[in-house]
Subunit: 301 residues, 2 copies
């Protein structure tokens, strides 16, 4: 049997990024945390945490943390009468998820609200590009992820959520200045475009699908959904804006589409570990309900 | 003399995260990029990029990229008559900066707009906790950073920008449910609180300054400024909200302060490499002007 107090210490160190803060979160001394983690490492004959700033788990360390999180969720399903006897200083079980920035800025808060209200449990949300969230799940860093990959990962199941729809937008003044003769491959190489980070391929994908060419343009990089839209509104660059956030600006003429009606659909899937814990069922229901409302509606318009 | 086409290849690989995409950004073949980088590594007798997904620079690789960016900025100051003769396929010089999420969501876009309009140059913004942006500058990953550290880093200068002001906020219903007898250290250990990521110590700092105790509470982790506010509005948890974003919600009663009038000031500084390039002077002016308007005003209210 694994040493669960030691696993709790390991999980706290990794979540907080240091032994001191992990100890503080557990309400014990740093030397107690350090002893527990070292004891576990000695027993297993391998390193579980690379000491540094921040402390990061090794592959086995990450697997153990994921296992620990799953055990906590199963414990939460036990007879409520047992709970007061389990432990005094227990922290609330927390489910780690990886979600893309545009979902976090649009429909995902509604899913979280439904889940937290129904269960009283909490979530630890990690932001990651939708094309890379599956990797976080595969690595055991999270128990569920909003992905673009319809295939469930091993040990997981995947459900379709609908599509986030994007429009290639800029201010009217920007379009008149950079595309006086219309948008074409030549003008696109000169007009500045927005990019969230180096994983963001949406602008390139839209250009490929619309003009059958590769995008190569001056780029304004901005890893903030707020600022990404502010920069389009200010006429600094064009970029792919989620319709859920851009619709009002488009209707009011503050933003215009580069090619009217040429939308990009990003289909999203909920990929979650197969674990028969009621909390994960409630979470999946909440995510499906919120997605149905926001993304289903987006699909039809 | 360094081999600058090779440095351009190195910078593109690191910016894009792969040799293929770096090649695409430069409009050359992947094998050309690979040869240039390998040639540079052989000449210097050391590895500059760790091949992987993504490709990441070694310490020397990072230093060389920072040097390359600075040379590009100095080139941009040369006699405009020279420029057409410099190179055909030149990309726009881009300045890399590290900025905290709450600045990106509030006053920083105005600074960027002023700068881009004045110069036509572009920025590559990286999001980082305000307590850790200075580290990115020290590592040579960026040429400037919005920091909380008033001391300039070696080779840099620092200017004060004013303070982002935060209020500890929640919905009225949340406050009534979790703090029926007022906010105190005991009730704070039970009420769920928000945290942006593990670097976010604002909630803990406010509790320490207001109640002289360490915060240890159930936590809802959410690395999105949008969702961070949505979750407070939905009554899921309390958290430190920037006044610039929360003011209207406070005025309308959708959010209330946990302890009215007990604000937290986060003083911000602009820390930038000492390089006599006109673009950096214009950037510093733009940042100071935008900060004066948004943070100066915040300070007085």
């Amino acid at each position: 049997m694994l040493d669960y107090p030691a696993l709790a210490a390991l999980a706290a160190v990794i979540r907080e990024g240091s032994f001191e803060r992990g100890a503080q979160a557990l309400g014990v001394t740093p030397s107690a945390v350090s002893q527990r983690v070292r004891g576990l490492e000695e027993k297993l004959g391998t390193v579980l945490v690379q000491r540094g700033q921040p402390c990061v788990p090794t592959e086995l360390g990450r697997t153990l943390c994921s296992h620990f999180d799953q055990v906590r969720l199963l414990e939460a399903d036990l007879d409520p009468a047992l709970k007061p006897r389990l432990a005094g200083n227990e922290t609330t079980p927390t489910i780690r998820l990886a979600v893309n920035a545009d979902s976090l800025a649009t429909w995902f808060p509604d899913a979280v609200t439904r889940f937290v209200r129904a269960t009283g449990l909490l979530l630890d949300l990690t932001r990651e590009d939708e094309g890379h969230t599956a990797e976080r799940l595969r690595m055991g860093e999270v128990l569920g992820a909003v992905t673009t990959d319809p295939e469930p990962l091993p040990g997981c199941r995947a459900v379709a959520l609908g599509a986030l729809r994007y429009a290639a937008c800029a201010s009217r003044e920007f379009v008149e200045r950079h595309f006086p003769d219309g948008v074409d491959p030549a003008s696109l190489t000169k007009a500045p475009c927005l990019r969230f980070d180096h994983k963001d391929r949406l602008q390139a994908r839209w250009v490929r699908e619309t003009f059958d060419c590769e995008l190569q343009a001056p780029t304004l990089w901005v890893p903030s959904t707020h600022a990404f839209q502010d920069f389009a509104l200010a006429g600094l660059a064009w970029g792919m804006q989620p319709l859920l956030l851009a619709r009002d600006h488009l209707a009011a003429g503050r933003l215009v589409e580069l090619v009217p009606g040429s939308l990009l659909n990003v289909r999203l899937y909920w990929n979650v570990v197969r674990l028969h814990a009621s909390s994960l069922r409630v979470l999946t229901d909440a995510i499906q309900a919120a997605a149905r409302e926001a993304l289903g509606r987006g699909e039809k318009q």
